[in-house]
């Protein structure tokens, strides 16, 4: 996609007037659809469609050995796969750069123990722990990937159920674990602190959220702001432009405010979701 100068000016004026090309205001999101528990092989899953951006997240759990330097903690790993379905550019290893960028920012956002407490995943200190794989599949890219991914990840973790460990017996070097066979005997993860990422895009003198592809082209710089429980857990600057420190602060404030609203809306939605017999998935 390429925009000519006149089109760019049009977008810019729209942003100035707080009336964007698709009719939204500066701090409005495009419509989102969220569905949880749609991958039956996984311990938890979610699919989010934000306008044309489509993200599928599945959570898998394995038993592992804790890192020697952090014996009391479990492990959390993010893996992003950019499907070639989204664009032919992702064929082969073409999407790897983007994938690493997203998974790194997620890892950064979830790093603080205030955000996500890994000690809860420890089964036996230094010997056994749960390892959570959060696998993110990007199926379509319609702009604003970070926001969509973070929401989908949070929803998938919300949906995740960890099997209950009934007993652990240590016999020399052998460890026997008994996991509850009961299907409903499992614990939920505490994801209230799981961060929401908001991309704040600077266009002209104004900041907007959830930029469309055309708006992304008009922006010189953007900040990806991830907020957890009212605090910033990671901030990344993207795009090739630079910002004045004052503008930076304004962006942070906007992002903080929007993330808060988004978080509340998401939790409300997640509480409302009733487990349905038949998932709709892609058939709708």
């Amino acid at each position: 996609m390429a925009l000519c100068e006149a089109e760019k000016t049009f977008v810019l004026h729209g942003v100035e007037e707080n009336f964007r090309i698709d009719g939204r205001e500066r701090e409005d999101y495009r419509p989102m659809e969220l569905e949880t528990n749609i991958v039956s092989h996984a311990f938890g899953s979610a699919r989010l469609r934000l306008a044309n951006t489509d993200v599928l997240v599945a959570v898998k759990i394995e038993v592992d050995v804790p890192y020697p330097e952090r014996p009391r903690e479990g492990k959390l790993e993010f893996f992003v796969d950019c499907s070639a379905n989204a664009t032919p550019d992702f064929e082969g290893r073409g999407g790897e750069d983007l994938a690493v960028e997203i998974s790194n920012s997620l890892a950064g956002a979830y790093r603080s123990p205030e955000v996500f407490d890994l000690t809860k995943l420890c089964i036996l200190k230094g010997r056994k722990c749960w390892k959570i794989f959060v696998d993110i599949l990007l199926l379509e890219c319609g702009g604003n990937l970070y926001d969509a991914v973070s929401i989908a990840v949070k929803a998938a973790l919300w949906d995740t159920r960890i099997p209950l460990v009934k007993s652990v017996t240590v016999d020399g070097n052998n460890i026997d674990m008994e996991v509850s066979e009961e299907l409903h005997d499992c614990q939920k993860l505490d994801v209230t602190g799981a961060p929401i990422m908001v991309t704040v895009c600077k266009i002209g003198e104004q900041c907007i959220v959830d930029p469309s592809a055309a708006e992304e082209l008009c922006s010189v710089g953007a900040l990806v702001i991830s907020v957890s429980r009212n605090k910033f857990s990671t901030i990344l600057q993207t795009g090739s432009g630079s910002l004045h420190p004052q503008t930076l602060l304004e962006c942070l404030q906007t992002g903080h405010k929007v993330a808060q609203r988004l978080h509340d809306a998401l939790i409300e939605t997640l509480v409302d979701i009733k487990p349905s017999e038949n998932s709709v998935g892609f058939l709708r």
Partner: protein, 283 residues
Amino acid sequence: MPIDHKRINGPEITIPYQLFDKLNTKSGKSQFKDFVKSNGVRIDGRSANDHRKIFLKTGVVSQAKGSAYIELDKTKVIVSVFNPREIPNKSEYSSKGEIYCEFKYAPFSCHKRRLHQQDPEELQYSAIMKQALESAVSRHEFPNFQVDIYALVLHNDGAALSAAITVAGVALAHAGIPMYDLITSVTLAVQGEFVLVDPNLEEERLCQVPLFKDEQNTNHGIVVLSMLATHEQVSQFYQTGNLAMDNLTSAIETLTNAAKDIVVLVKKCLVRHVIKSARNVED
């Protein structure tokens, strides 16, 4: 790990001996207290807003177009910059040149031995470096081409990323790559009430987790900021941890001031280089 056929491989499993040290039973909080006294004076005698001693030198790699070396006390980073070359795997015309950054830790530069391939952290730092430098370089002067910037950390004692960005800026200027502005970068570590400019590795590590939970202060984290000197623009901003809005507001102010402090050194170093080479021409 798969066998690397292009290197000599050691045994499959090796364990760092540091793991078998007598256990440090001190809590993180008292370790931190060892490093930073309550009046803000740090173990090496610096106050919270002080930089470590900085040593900058240009022209360390004769084969590169431009190069520079920085020491932030023990942290040592070397950067070289090369002439614009064709952008690999690209066939369309682009009116702006590109920047390629590679950030790498030497295998022996950290406490734990690093592998030869770039790990996710190094990839992310490479991306951050690129982001920081992109707005400093006049990319339209070399359309269709890319300038390669390679940073190698020889010794990591904290703030390696910001050291790499600062020194890359110097190397670019040394290489005669057209730039809009000089760039400097500073790291900040936050733990509770304490805000430490240019942290060393231990301070960085101790700021990864909140240590003052019992005092109802869960603020902690690392902030890196890069500034364009003359135009007062933030070209890159990166934060991890858990920080409140007002923390960040003051952090940005501290960082912008700290970044300005380094500009003087960068300027001095470059002026020295210009005068020296002018003398060489005369001789």
